[in-house]
């Protein structure tokens, strides 16, 4: 499953990121790496961004980037 298709309120663990070095580095600098636990805050709506919670921070990611992040459901 990828991050864009996740459900509002559910928690996930990142299992893979395949967006190329640029995307990986950007995510890494904010502490979003393989193994990081994330919680989905909003629901996907017509190509709008995915908002996730990591620790006490929230991030908004565009559909393209979010789709490149593979996650496992922790529920």
């Amino acid at each position: 499953m990828n991050l864009y298709n996740t459900k509002q309120g559910h928690s996930y663990k990142i299992s893979d990121i395949n967006g190329g070095k640029g995307v990986e580095n950007k995510l890494e600098s904010m502490g979003i790496i393989i193994g990081t636990e994330v919680k989905r805050v909003n629901s996907s709506f017509s190509g709008g961004p995915a908002v996730i919670e990591v620790g006490n921070s929230k991030f908004a990611l565009g559909k393209g980037m979010a789709s490149k992040i593979k996650v496992k459901d922790l529920q």
Binding site: G22, G31, N42, P49, V51, K58, A60, G64, M65
Partner: protein
Amino acid sequence: MNKILLMGNPNVGKSTIFSRITGVNITASNYPGTTVEFTEGFYTHKKEKRKIIDVPGVYTLKPNDPAGKVAQRMLEEAEQEEDTIVVNIIDSTNLERNLNLTLQLLERNVPVIILLNFWDETHHVGISIDTNQLEKILGVPVIPVVGVSGEGIKHFIDRLGEAENVDMEYAENEKWNYIGDIVSQVQELSHKKHSLRDRIEDLTIQNWSGLLIAFVVILVSFVIIRYIGEGLIGYIFDPFFQSLWKPIMTTLSSALNGSGIIHTVLVGELIEGSINFEQSFGLLTTGLYVPITAVLPYVFAFYFVLSIWEDSGYLARLSILLDRIMHVVGLHGMSFMPFLLGLGCNVPGALSTRVLETRKERFISATLMGIFTPCMAQIAMVIGLVGKYGIRGIGPIALTLVLMGIVVGYLMKKFVHGESPEIFTEIPRLRIPDLKSLLKKLFMRIKYFLQEAIPFVLLGVAIVNVLYSLKIINFIGQFAEPVVTHLLGLPSETVGALIMGFLRKDLAVGMLAPLGLSLNQLIVASVVLTMYFPCVATFSVLVRELGVKDMVKSAAIMVISALSVGGVLNLILSSF
């Protein structure tokens, strides 16, 4: 010790701490050779003056964007200097993520001291941090502070001299494990309560509740802007001009015998035997009245509300909700900022396009902002002109600008080459804004507006007066008349206003007042004046930001859309 760099991730409260320790003498400037803005100020302690620099917020020292490169270069300079120390500000509720930058700073050849900001929030989110232990591990002072209340700041100043230049070493590929180790040694988590604040934060982001809240926030903001703007005009600025300035001008007018070239330039024409600040059109009458009385109160009110949006963390939430809509015109949520700033004044709007990533984004946002975003100066004057017709006057103008903005933006998205990147941003927590840093920012924006606006208004009034006296405007009017009268349905006298529009849009709208136009003509003229060309100040900034070649393309799009939209609007309105 003479220089202090404040460094940290974005949204860690750097600016609040900056304005707490600096005095009134602060300046914002561009880092040489770049388009990145930073703020610097001074702080005097025990008769020693220190320069304090608010370095742009970054997540990492690997420069992958313009702000990162500037932070990197400032740090490199600091490594060369004897007396510079780095103050690393950390969001103590996000220790793990923030330590990434901290470790990179500790590797460098500079003394570092660490501030754990938002300390008061740690127990709300169920975190306790052992600062002594963290100090031992990192080898530099670690001081908990609360930027907004000033708690811990004095302690920080006292310990400034203890900043240490340590040489931290760790394996790059083990970095996050190492950070995890540190965090587990110094931080204890208790159960996190889902507070009311968490609930509201989520609601502002989630789709339907978010849109509803955005609608209410925008509506309330408009009411506040209008209330402050009208209040300042009605109770302070207009009475000042009418009761104190007018007698002086009347004396000057009679001293000049009420006519002559000097009278025309300084005082302008007498309307029904006396000075009319809106229509006389002299340097010292209309030239001062329009920017100060008609426009400044609204610019002040607008930037006041915008600063609250920014500093409370709401603006980022609004950007996320608007992200989807912005895709239609090839932009994303964060590229909403130029339009919002442009509503205050197009110049800072144009300047803010530079933070966008790609050429395509910058071109689209600068062109759309230039065409369809009337500045507060112009809005104030348009409202003065058509406000008495209520929604019948303002409705068609606003609707035309928004709809045509979407159409032109969509066409640019299709035909402009290049990439439209996606949104990727941190969403800060909702916080009560710190009044002191808010006022400092507001003050800088107002100062900037006055510096930009007043010289151009005075120049504009002077030039138009000269052009009128030499009958040059009548001459140009004859050439432009077919377009103006036949295509747009306006009398040929509006040519003067259109020429003025190159200099100042607010004055241009003001020049329409004495022409006795019908409502339909006022609507067409207001739309065309907004769209056809940016004022000269914005134009010069856009040339610098886009380059001459792209600016020519952008200007062509502006003129073509202005004339076609004006023409069609004239046809539609006159057929009713």
